[in-house]
């Protein structure tokens, strides 16, 4: 008999249910436990990065108040904040967290196809986090090279943590990539091979499309980071010269010759730009499902949405050098990369239109997850539009390396994905725990986060227009920077502290609700997708009880004309309603 992976086995008796605390919660192979482990580690390390950002903001907003924030520490905080947030929080939480939780449930499988590999993935991820955090305790401290780790500065004295700190960073990234690859192969294989009966690719929820495409991007992009990390480690430890040209330090000529600093930038951004979409595409997917569910309306233009995700994913490998317009690379590359970059704006804009058109003529339920999702549309529009400045090569010239860049990518890659994370955490919390969260507390959390982050980042763009450079410990005497810029910086810092404190509301809410929240039932939102149709909530090991579900329709049968309820679950038998009819306003 052919081998059938656990994920695909119809007969639940083949499951070996874990029977001890260790196998259930520690060395667990259950994708749901692994998802929560991934999420817990990511949020923990993300809180450290949040704390670092507050220290940075204190230095910028209120210089001279905290005696131990010296220039070296400031640059170390900048670096660790950036790298943790981008890689160890966002990538891990979207793919390791939501990917793990939702893929088997939304695809109607019992688990991932390689559960043991999945377990290894989370523990190797923890190892990478521990290695990273260890760099706070080595001589010289963590690397202060900026999260982009540009050579040769990252590995030469003159940059904080250029010895142990950068080495631990590079090793940690390597270990993270191993963990990601183990998880990523699992996600892709499960989605492609183990979907349940009737669940064709074009019936998949957009969450899965986003996670799937992002994972494929990651599997192609992370190797570029891995090789550049290995080559940089060789330059650091073995004296090779991949990235280090002949250079002088403290009056002495170093033993390197002929390396190319620009090669490092190409490799880094060949990873780094797809990385933006490794974070963004799962967010696009998750928010689509939250919007559709709570608008009680199908996602508008599903096929367009799927193709947009794929197009964005493909194009994301052709735009990397827009991070390098003023790097000294051949300036004629600017024509090509500006064109590809602005082309990517078209599918991205279509996604925005379709989200808004999903709300149009909907029956919108304005609860906490929906508020976060709507907030996301606003911040993403803002961050996406400022991307049109920086992507257009000539406009990038005055704005590159200023606070405009910082404000742009925090809007588009910080605030926007985080709002989606909260939308998704609130949305799927009842499924994960069987309890409802506190709606009032959730809404307060939304308002503080949404308004607070806008108060941080809208003014920051204007510091960039003014020309205030990023990665400056302090502005110093600079004639063109008026004193009012410092007052603005102080206000931004106050807003940042406010937002950071407001995040406590989220933790209070989820922990309080875990104990005292009302039981949610299996499908509190009246959602169509499979994860809401499990026999148990939270789903038990194996997810589906005796028999795997069969799928009869796409993921968005909300408010189908003539249907009894305003949603039809994907596993409800029956003919699918004609999807391609053209409806115009209220005429038909």
């Amino acid at each position: 008999m052919a081998y059938v992976p656990l994920a695909d086995q119809d007969d639940a008796h083949a499951l070996h249910d874990p029977d001890s605390f260790i196998t259930k919660y520690v060395w667990s192979q259950d994708h749901k436990v692994i998802a929560i482990q991934y999420g817990g580690i990511a949020i923990f390390v993300g809180l450290i990065a949040l704390g670092l950002s507050i220290l940075m903001r204190l230095q910028l907003g209120f210089p001279d108040t905290i005696s131990w924030i010296d220039p070296a520490f400031y640059y170390q905080a900048v670096t660790m904040h950036g790298m943790i947030m981008v890689v160890y929080l966002l990538t891990a939480l979207f793919l390791g967290g939501f990917g793990n939780y939702l893929i088997p449930l939304m695809c109607g499988t019992r688990d991932m196809v390689f559960p043991f590999l999945n377990m290894l993935s989370v523990w190797v991820y923890l190892l990478s986090v521990l290695i990273l955090l260890a760099s706070f305790f080595v001589p010289g401290g963590p690397t202060g090279a900026g999260w982009t780790l540009y050579a040769p500065q990252s590995i030469t004295p003159g940059t904080p943590g250029s010895g142990y700190g950068i080495l631990l960073m590079l090793v940690s990234l390597g270990v993270f990539i191993i963990a990601f690859t183990m998880g990523g192969l699992n996600y892709v294989t499960t989605i492609l091979q183990a979907r349940t009966r009737g669940l064709t690719l074009m019936r998949l929820p957009l969450s899965i499309w986003g996670i799937f495409t992002a994972t494929v991007l990651g599997l192609f992009a992370f190797p570029a980071l891995l090789v550049s990390a290995i080559m940089l480690t060789f330059d650091l430890m073995l004296g090779t010269s991949f990235f280090v040209p002949s250079m002088i330090h403290m009056g002495e000529t170093l033993e390197h010759d002929g390396g190319s600093p620009i090669l490092f930038q190409h490799l880094f951004w060949f990873f780094g730009h797809p990385e933006v979409y490794i974070v963004a595409l799962p967010a696009f997917g998750l928010v689509s499902d939250v919007l559709s569910t709570h608008a009680r309306k199908n996602i508008f233009g599903y096929r367009m949405m799927v193709w947009a995700i794929i197009a964005i994913g493909g194009l994301s490998f052709l735009v990397w050098a827009h991070h390098m317009y003023v790097s000294g690379m051949n300036p004629y590359f600017g024509f090509f990369f500006a064109t590809t970059t602005l082309i990517i704006a078209v599918p991205t804009a279509l996604k925005v239109y379709n989200w808004v058109l999903t709300l149009w003529q909907g029956n919108i339920r304005l609860n906490t997850p929906m508020l976060f999702a709507i907030g996301f549309i606003f911040t993403f529009v803002h961050g996406g539009l400022t991307g049109l400045f920086l992507g257009n090569v000539i406009i990038d010239v005055p704005l590159a390396d200023t606070y405009f860049v910082v404000a742009h990518f925090h809007m588009v890659m910080g605030v926007s994905p985080v709002l989606v994370l909260y939308a998704a955490l609130y949305h799927w919390y009842p499924k994960m725990t069987g309890k409802m969260f506190n709606e009032t507390l959730g809404k307060i959390h939304f308002w503080c986060t949404f308004l607070g982050t806008y108060a941080i980042y809208l003014p920051m763009h204007y510091l960039g227009f003014l020309g205030v450079p990023r990665r400056y410990y302090e502005m110093g005497n600079t004639d063109f920077i008026p004193a009012s810029a410092q007052a603005l910086n102080a206000n931004i810092t106050i807003a940042a502290i406010f937002v950071a404190i407001a995040q406590l509301l989220f933790f209070i809410n989820i922990f309080w609700s875990l104990k005292s929240g009302k039981p949610s039932g299996g499908n509190p939102w009246g959602a169509t997708t499979l994860e809401w149709q499990t026999p148990d909530t939270p789903p038990k090991h194996g997810n589906w009880g005796e028999e795997l579900p069969a799928v009869y329709r796409w993921a968005y049968d909300y408010s189908v004309p003539g249907a009894e309820k305003d949603f039809i679950p994907q596993n409800e038998p029956g003919e699918e309603y004609e999807k391609t009819f053209h409806h115009k306003g209220g005429e038909s």
């Binding site: 540009y150 003159g158 940059t159 002088i248 330090h249 500006a338 990665r471």
Partner: protein, 455 residues
């Protein structure tokens, strides 16, 4: 409901913020007004989209929200609408093209240097600037990292005849003529740096191992900041220079005052014997062997690099140092320095001081050397060296074995704005920022205690 109102308010608030914001581009000082044009064009196109999309979003949320009054509302089932989606695609593509096309047009100008542009070279290092202009032959000589030394910090090839008449500047100060196109050739001798003048709108990274370029045509006279905007390590934020845009006649005059490379290479060495005579005056306070005398407020000099001594003497005689009324010791020094008021005399004294026997000064400051080590190695060593030996390449003097009470006083002076604030004291300015690594007296004493262990 609230969210719809807030979205409208955020759109309106963003517009108001834009209108009242005093923070916007600096007044332009180069011919790149068409960069500003493309920025403004993009601003209005994207601004329109921002307003339109978010107001539509707000209206949709308002109009189609669930409420208790209308419990029977039902969403419309509309999976797709090919005409609408195609129309939006075309519209978006047109909007993007409308921003991209002028952008690429201006970029073509940016990458095409006019034939008649003259050249200058900006040279970056951690965390200093140097500059070079072609001499009478109009050509800059070849240069390479391997030629760099204390006396040739530009790395100009000494064997290249074209380089001999190059005009060189080893200071964070450069000049350009107004209304003439110039091509900036950008080099670095260590890590990535960047040449930015915000008023010019142009910037470009400086990459070790290659020469990058950009071109500008300054359009108004004045003094502007030159910033490094590519993170280059600990001193990134203090890597500053100034550029003065001058009328062409003033510019020619300024150029004439600069030394040629050949002149810098044939400067006479400081004469120890001549310096010994001049030093007799110094010895009454600083001691016969330059060992210093705390009672006279005179720090130890022996062990200091000659270029540092010469530079400080010049600062004193030019009023860059010792002019601040709160700097009483410096005020005593200023008239003394005026006695050696030629570069040659200063180099002679410096040469003599460098020849004196270097015995460590007695330690008077107490602190926790281990804590000081952490601060020192993180923040100070990058310029002053791991052994506090100093280096010409970072323009940082030796600290180890020097009078520790003097170090303490200078650190206080930097912190209190008594030293480093004068125009022209570029290196002192850098210290006014780095001194923030020691914000408390305890931290400062710890660092000095550590430096005392390096003697």
């Amino acid at each position: 409901m609230a969210i719809a109102v807030v979205l409208v308010l955020l759109v309106v608030g963003s517009i108001i913020f834009h209108l009242v914001s005093p923070w916007w581009f600096t007044d332009i000082a180069s011919h790149w007004a068409n960069i500003d044009f493309t920025v403004n064009l993009t601003f209005w196109v994207t601004g329109f989209v921002f307003i339109a999309v978010n107001l539509f979003l707000a209206y949709s949320v308002y109009r189609y929200r669930q409420s208790k009054d209308t419990p029977d509302n039902k969403a419309v089932y509309e999976p797709e609408n090919a005409r609408l989606e195609t129309g939006l695609t075309i519209l978006t593509a047109l909007g993007v093209a409308a921003m991209l096309a002028p952008g690429l047009f201006v970029w073509a100008q940016f990458v095409t240097v006019p034939e008649d542009a003259t050249e200058f070279e900006a040279f970056g290092s951690q965390w200093q600037w140097a500059f070079r202009y072609p001499g009478d032959d109009g050509v800059m000589g070849t240069a390479d990292i391997s030629h760099i030394s204390e006396t040739n910090p530009w790395g100009i090839n000494p064997a290249d005849p074209a380089g001999q008449d190059d005009l060189v500047v080893k200071a964070p100060y450069m000049a350009l003529p107004v209304d003439q196109p110039v091509k900036a050739l950008l080099r670095s001798r260590d890590v990535l740096h960047n040449y930015t003048v915000p008023q010019f709108r142009a910037k470009m990274d400086m990459v070790p191992g290659m020469v990058s370029y950009m071109w500008i045509e300054p359009t108004r006279t004045g003094v502007f900041d030159v910033l490094c905007e590519q993170y280059c390590g600990l001193g990134h934020h203090i890597m500053r220079a100034q550029i003065e845009v001058m009328e062409p006649a003033d510019y020619e005059q300024w150029l004439d005052q600069q030394m040629t490379f050949a002149e810098t290479q044939s400067l006479p060495e400081g004469s120890v014997s001549a310096g010994r005579q001049a030093y007799a005056t110094c010895a009454s306070c600083h001691g016969q062997n330059g060992e210093g005398n705390q009672a006279m407020n005179a720090p130890k000099l022996a062990g200091l690099q000659d270029w540092y001594i010469a530079r400080q003497l010049r600062y004193y005689s030019e009023g860059v140092r010792g002019a601040n009324p709160d700097d009483s010791a410096g005020q005593m020094m200023a008239p003394m320095a005026a006695m050696v008021n030629s570069e040659e005399a200063r180099l002679n004294v410096a040469a003599y001081i460098e020849s004196l026997p270097d015995e460590p000064a007695p330690a008077t400051v107490e602190g926790d050397a281990e804590r000081g080590m952490r601060i020192y190695s993180a923040n100070c060593a990058a310029c002053h060296g791991a052994e506090a030996q100093g280096s010409w390449s970072t323009d940082a003097p030796a600290l180890a074995g020097m009078s520790d009470w003097y170090l303490a006083r200078q650190l206080n002076n930097y912190r209190d704005g008594i030293r480093g604030g004068e125009d022209g004291d570029h290196y002192g300015y850098q210290m006014t920022s780095m001194v923030k690594a020691m914000r408390t007296e305890a931290q400062q004493n710890d660092v000095i205690a550590y430096i005392n262990t390096l003697r």
